[in-house]
């Protein structure tokens, strides 16, 4: 092997300042206002009068080095060698003169990039690794995002909605994506308890921590087998035991599926941040296009678009009309699974005589 350079430890990331475009560096902390100029571009104006134009494009998040280098070529040609990524994995190109905007957008369009994601529409989908790289994935994430955004792409590039709609996909209930506080989100779920591989468990797992991992105390010791047993009626298939003990696999191709949760938000605008709540408990896992799931998301999105007031987020719209009306207008079935029986259940029951017929 060729000689390696001298390694360094605990140096932390490179300082961000060296990566800032000059116009950003000059006006750092001195921005006055911004304006959206279209679905995918905006201008920020500084106290000094300087302006920076930003063009945003979609990204699948999973990028090859070849594509990163292509993106770099564009940034070299138009943006003096600078670019950034957003917290939702979009790519942003910034220029310091209005005359540079059109050629940049032209090249991005010609090269097939999808410009959009700014303002009252769908931005990029925050998502997890899925079958591409995760051991606990109940479904794929990249594929679901692709299927979803191929269908809803117009809400990224052109069409507007009452407010922004944050989509997220998590491939299991660990929710490495921000599913628990998103407008509309998908989560991979199990429907059957883990299987215990008694022979393997002795060598692979620590029994006490496996028992302790269960949030419903469904797991207890099985001294005869030097293993554990599961009280099936207590198990709600979270898979936390499998995270701790590989000898308790929970993946079940026939029964794993997708749940849809809606109405969450992280911003404090108008109303407080909200958790997402269950809209659809289970849809079949149907790669590569997940047609049932995509159709259900479109239905929810379009019902929101038709019913919400300007600036209302999905959760604000549902709270105004009431959840009982949400199920009515979307036509989604309300099932036993929708009634909470976990930690915070009591707070979710209707302690009032007021509801809509």
């Amino acid at each position: 092997m060729s000689e390696l350079p001298q390694r360094q430890t605990d140096i932390g990331p490179p300082h961000y300042e060296q990566f800032l475009p000059p116009v950003i560096k000059k006006n750092y902390g001195k921005w006055k206002y911004h304006e959206q100029l279209g679905p995918g571009h905006m201008v920020h104006v500084a106290e000094s009068g300087d302006k920076v134009w930003t063009v945003r494009v979609a990204s699948p998040r999973l990028l090859s080095t070849d594509t990163i280098k292509d993106i770099c070529d564009i940034a070299d040609a138009h943006c003096d060698g600078h670019l950034r990524f957003t917290t939702r994995n979009n790519i942003e190109f910034m220029v310091d003169d209005e005359s540079k905007v059109e050629p940049l957008m032209k090249e991005l369009t010609e090269k097939g990039f999808m410009i959009g994601g700014i303002g009252p529409r769908i931005s990029n989908v925050v998502h997890t690794q899925g079958w591409v790289h995760c051991h606990s994935a109940a479904t794929d994430a990249s594929g679901l995002v692709k299927a979803l955004m191929d269908d809803l792409g117009e809400y990224f590039t052109t069409k507007s909605l009452p407010n922004r709609v944050r989509l997220a996909v998590a491939c299991c209930v660990n929710m490495c994506g921000a599913v628990h506080c998103s407008d509309i989100a998908l989560v991979g779920v199990h429907k059957t308890p883990p299987r215990i591989e008694h022979e393997k468990i002795k060598n692979l797992c620590e029994i006490p921590s496996t028992i302790a991992s269960c949030p419903t105390s469904a797991i207890s010791p099985d001294p005869q087998k030097k293993s554990v047993k599961i009280k099936i009626e207590k198990c709600m298939y979270c898979g936390n035991c499998y995270s701790v003990c590989p000898a308790m696999p929970i993946a079940d191709p026939k029964n794993d599926g997708i749940a849809i949760v809606i109405g969450g938000k992280v911003s404090n605008l108008r109303s407080n941040p909200k958790f997402s709540k269950l809209a659809v408990p289970w849809l079949p896992n149907t790669p590569p296009r997940w047609t049932e799931t995509v159709a259900a998301v479109r239905k929810i999105l379009e019902t929101y678009a038709a019913g919400a007031k300007k600036h209302e987020r999905v959760g604000e719209w549902v709270e105004r009309i009431g959840w009982e009306k949400f199920f009515k207008v979307t036509g989604l079935e309300f099932t036993l699974q929708h009634v909470d029986d976990f930690t915070f259940a009591r707070e979710t029951w209707r302690m009032a005589a007021t509801f809509k017929w």
Partner: protein
């Protein structure tokens, strides 16, 4: 290079307008055996509807217990290229700004030693280099660190802090999120790279209550910029909004959650004492309204996803903290919280869950924070409260 495996299901996802991750893997497969076999393995998952990755093993670079996620396939004979497919987490620069020179450098290292596949970025914020062999980890780390890049956090450690772009390009930034994030990251290098906590600990820094980094939902400590004092109003710009078609009564006044705004057609008035700083009016009339001048942050604690006992959002523990370098007040608070968590936390118990288990009152007392109404939505409903020795008549 032609593709080694037939992938009819994945090929379907090369079609359609949204950028395709399958195309990305295929591009990498032109020069990477890892990516060739990843396609085969992923196609198998699409066919069987089940993952083919096993639990991570313990792999890493010398002297670090974090930064690399071990990953092994459960079908190594069928797809030897991804028998080992470890992830390297590289700590991103605050705000996700790059020069093309820096990105190309990382790409070149990754083409030489890894799959050529990345995530820009991972859920926590790191640059994710997706898939390499154990023997390549040291060379990758030497190449990266000699060019001033370091690894991020993983396991029961401080996870790579991240932030919105704040003052770099946003007029709403009440705090310098990128500086604070960089300082936190540098201050806690040891705690990031050598896991010694009960479980993970995440920091996210947002410049305002819009919270583009989702700190309130996704960070054990959420630092959210805010202000004290009056919202600054430019009445001429308010009129411009009205003239250009904004229905100020409906879109601003009626949507204010505290009903502290009025508009008579020529002047916008805000009763600042009643404002809860939600950001709606400022976000909708960004040319006309600006946050008040005394800037700082609200510190919140405890959020996490639903595993294990249900999702939590962070709640207020310090209503207002000035955020200026060297951030001693913040570091002092963090150290006190960690000491308490270290002392009482169970294995795999997040700090928010520990507070739920032992009580918020006990946390406040032990960590030395004075109770304030801003910390609660409402006072308790029950009559079951504790007193201490000194509160009781002898």
């Amino acid at each position: 290079m032609s593709m080694k495996h037939q992938t009819p299901l994945l090929d379907e996802l090369e079609k359609g307008p949204f950028p395709s991750f399958v195309k990305e893997i295929k591009r990498a497969a032109e020069h990477s055996d890892y990516a060739q076999d990843l396609l085969g393995l992923l196609e198998l998952s699409y066919k069987e509807k089940v993952t083919h990755w096993k639990h991570g093993g313990i792999v890493g670079v010398r002297g670090y217990g974090a930064g690399v996620i071990g990953r092994y396939s459960d079908v190594p004979d069928q797809f030897p290229g991804v028998a080992h497919f470890h992830t390297v987490r590289v700590n991103q620069p605050s705000g996700f700004f790059y020069t093309t020179k820096a990105l190309r450098e990382i790409c070149d290292i990754w083409d030489k030693y890894g799959s050529g596949l990345t995530n820009m970025h991972g859920s926590t914020g790191d640059i994710i280099l997706l898939g390499t062999k154990t023997e390549n980890l040291e060379p990758i780390f030497a190449e990266l660190s000699s060019r001033d890049w370091d690894l991020g956090g993983s396991g029961s450690a401080v996870r790579t802090p991240s932030c919105c772009l704040g003052a770099a390009r946003c007029e709403w930034a009440n705090i310098d999120t990128m500086s604070i994030t960089n300082e936190i990251t540098q201050h806690y290098q040891d705690e990031m790279h050598r896991p010694a906590f009960p479980y993970k600990f995440k920091f996210k820094v947002a410049g305002c209550a819009v919270d583009c980094i989702a700190s309130i939902a996704r960070a054990d400590m959420s630092i959210i910029g805010t202000w004290r004092g009056d919202i600054q109003i430019d009445q001429n710009e308010v009129k411009n909004y009205a003239q250009s078609g904004m229905d100020i009564q409906k879109e601003i006044v009626d949507m204010c959650p505290t009903e502290c705004i009025s508009w008579d057609g020529s002047e916008l008035k805000i009763n600042n004492e009643d404002c809860n700083r939600c950001m709606h009016c400022i976000a909708k009339m960004t040319k006309a309204l600006r946050p008040g001048s005394e800037k700082g942050a609200t510190i919140l604690l405890g959020s996490k996803a639903p595993i294990v006992t249900g999702a939590l959002m962070s709640w207020v523990i310090v209503p207002f903290m000035k955020m200026e370098p060297p951030y001693d007040e913040l570091f002092d608070l963090v150290d006190r919280i960690w000491e308490w968590w270290d002392e009482h936390g169970k294995n795999r118990e997040r700090v928010g869950e520990l507070i739920e288990r032992l009580s918020f009152t006990r946390f406040l007392k032990d960590v030395g924070l004075d109770p304030q109404p801003a910390m609660v939505k409402e006072p308790r409903r029950d009559p079951f409260f504790f007193w201490s020795e000194e509160d009781v008549a002898k």
